[in-house]
């Protein structure tokens, strides 16, 4: 299993002059001749909500692409070079793109971190970080929708600097989007409330749901791969301890992200007699025709998946 920090998705916001750019999929509809790029599909979606009609947003990598096996093709590098603004999640998620950005030097785009200003979560004291991974910054801020309000504000500010004439529109869009996020948050609170409190336990393949769990009162009991790093592999002792933990805690299910290697997790789930859920999405969207074309849809689908797995004995 791989970590989000390798996830690479880039979004291009293109102005009228840039129609020729190979990777742009939406035609711009208005005047500003600025090209904006984001690193992830869900970021492209959030940026698109803020940019609205003024600037089109497209993904360099299609939404459903697994970034781990993705290698930048020359046209990807060209798209980054051609951008005026590059929106990244930050907090280490885009470490894989740093060589590309640094390679461009002064030709590169201005980079804005959507998560700037958010405080990284502390690992649980009782928890799962006894292996010294506690110092790693968890970049998965967006899995708490309230954090995404800050994303939208950061993107609003960056867009306004780039295109001052559109500042009012961006402000209005960001405000409207924040309301949608708050509605989503209220809906999630209500959904999680359906889970009996003693069953609000999460065991995941990776440590990605921390912010989500913090916000909605779920407890992360354990993870299969304790580190966010791809190269690490768990020891037999850790897995045995996790099976015991699954049994002892009464956690009803083990969650694995869509597309991840579920082989080890499947054996553990069988062993402990819990459900294995493999279609959680934390950073990939489907295309516009799929079931989760947007960030908001991804969150709703995940919450349904989690609640369904935990609610019924």
């Amino acid at each position: 299993m791989r970590h989000p920090s390798k996830r690479r998705i880039v979004v291009v916001v293109v102005a009228a002059a840039a129609l020729a750019l190979a990777s742009c999929t939406r035609a711009p509809r208005s005047a500003p001749a600025a090209r904006v790029l984001a690193s992830q599909a869900f970021l492209a979606d959030i940026a698109g909500a803020v940019a609205g009609e003024r600037i089109a947003v497209a993904a360099l990598l299609p939404a459903d692409t697994d970034p781990h096996t993705w290698e930048p093709a020359p046209r990807d590098a060209a798209a980054v070079a051609a951008a005026d603004l590059f929106i990244v999640n930050g907090a280490g998620l885009e470490a894989f793109l740093e060589p590309l950005i640094e390679g461009l030097g002064s030709e590169g785009p201005r980079v804005v971190e959507a998560s700037a200003g958010l405080v990284p979560r502390e690992h649980d004291e009782d928890g799962h970080d006894e292996d010294g991974h506690g110092h790693e910054t968890d970049p998965h801020f967006w899995l708490d929708p309230l954090n995404v309000i800050r994303y939208a504000e950061n993107i609003r500010d960056a867009l306004s600097t780039l295109d001052p004439a559109g500042a009012d529109a961006y402000r209005a869009n960001a405000t409207a989007y924040a309301e949608e996020l708050q509605a989503l948050d209220r809906w999630i609170v209500a959904e999680v409330a359906r889970i009996p409190p003693e069953r609000r336990l999460l065991v995941t393949n990776h440590e990605s749901l921390g912010y989500f769990a913090d916000r909605y009162g779920l407890r992360i009991v354990g993870t299969v791969i304790p580190s966010v790093s791809t190269g690490s592999s768990p020891s037999a002792r850790q897995l045995a301890a996790l099976v015991d933990l699954l049994r002892a805690s009464g956690a009803p299910a083990l969650f694995v992200e869509e597309g991840a290697d579920a082989r080890v997790a499947r054996q553990l789930a069988d062993e402990a007699g819990v459900r294995l859920v493999t279609d959680l999405r934390t950073h990939t969207l489907t295309g516009p025709d799929g079931p989760v074309p947007t960030y908001l849809a991804m969150m709703r689908a995940d919450v349904r998946t989690i609640v369904n797995a935990l609610v019924a004995p």
């Binding site: 990598l61 096996t69 993705w70 002792r237 897995l239 045995a240």
Partner: protein
């Protein structure tokens, strides 16, 4: 002591891991004796990576990834056989060429599948702790078939591998036997690959065989010793992974390496320590 040995086996995934490790350990080590003696140490690594295009194609046509991997490995095995048949291209060069080509083709195919969230590289990184009962059956069946084939063709394979002149005199179908060996290798590598991962496969193909070679010159005994070392490395490695809390595949590889180092230093008559001792005995004044 018994409790100490039994404790890790309380978990089903540990039992399956032990069994899978033992099966793969024997299989790779026995087949690995041919690999070591014919100086093809890198064929394991090469073929393991060469399965990628097969995996990608299997994924595209929604087939079984294992079958795709096997197809690609067989194609590469036959390709190596064909390229090096008349000796215009040496076998190790053929391995190098086809490995690089297949790996690149795999990367190219996988990067063009831009619509999938699935990480196809997974097949390269089987984990001995994630072996399912089905994997175990498949591994066991293929291992039994490969070992049976080696047993039945033993004399012919040995003659063809090490004594081409005798093989010609005996009118053995040398070409077919050489390809048979490559096919057996491909089967071994692919089945081990999805069970224990690429790192362990390349190590188990070479290290136990090389260790056994230090201890004995006779091939049947070398195979037996290598097989025993392969199993021991897997079992000890897995216990180490449990009690020392370290990554399991790496622990197994390093256990095999430890056996090798010990044999390299202390093998009767051939070990480095033994030779030092001999020299000291012969030239007492110099030491």
């Amino acid at each position: 002591m018994i409790a100490w040995l039994a404790e890790p086996l309380a978990h089903g995934f540990m039992q399956r891991g032990m069994l899978a490790g033992a099966i793969v350990g024997v299989l790779c080590a026995v087949v690995g004796c041919f690999v070591v003696l014919r100086s093809m140490a890198f064929i394991g690594d090469a073929m393991a990576h060469a399965v990628l295009p097969g995996v990608a194609v299997a994924y595209l046509v929604k087939g079984d990834l294992f079958v795709g991997a096997l197809g690609a490995a067989l194609a590469v095995a036959l390709g190596i056989g064909a390229l090096s048949r008349r000796g215009q291209v040496r076998e190790d060069s053929a391995i190098g060429i086809l490995f690089a080509a297949a790996l690149s083709l795999g990367v190219l195919l996988i990067s063009s599948i831009r619509t999938s969230a699935t990480d196809l590289g997974h097949i390269l990184f089987g984990n001995v702790l994630g072996v399912s009962a089905r994997d175990l059956l498949l591994t066991g069946a293929i291992a039994a078939a490969v070992l049976a084939a080696i047993f039945l063709l033993y004399k012919e394979l040995v003659v063809v591998s090490f004594d081409p002149v005798l093989a010609a005199t005996l009118r053995l179908p040398a070409e077919r036997l050489r390809i048979a060996l490559l096919v057996l290798l491909a089967l071994t590598i692919v089945v081990s690959l999805q069970t224990v991962g690429v790192g362990l496969v390349s190590a188990l193909l070479v290290t136990p065989g090389a260790t056994a070679q230090l201890l004995t010159r006779r091939l049947p005994r070398m195979m037996a010793v290598a097989g025993a070392l392969g199993v021991a490395s897997c079992v000890i490695g897995l216990y180490a992974s449990y009690y020392l809390d370290v990554a399991s595949g790496a622990a197994m590889v390093l256990t095999a390496t430890a056996f090798f180092v010990v044999a390299f230093l202390f093998a009767p008559r051939r070990g480095a320590a033994w030779r030092l001792l001999e020299r000291a005995r012969r030239h007492p004044a110099a030491s």
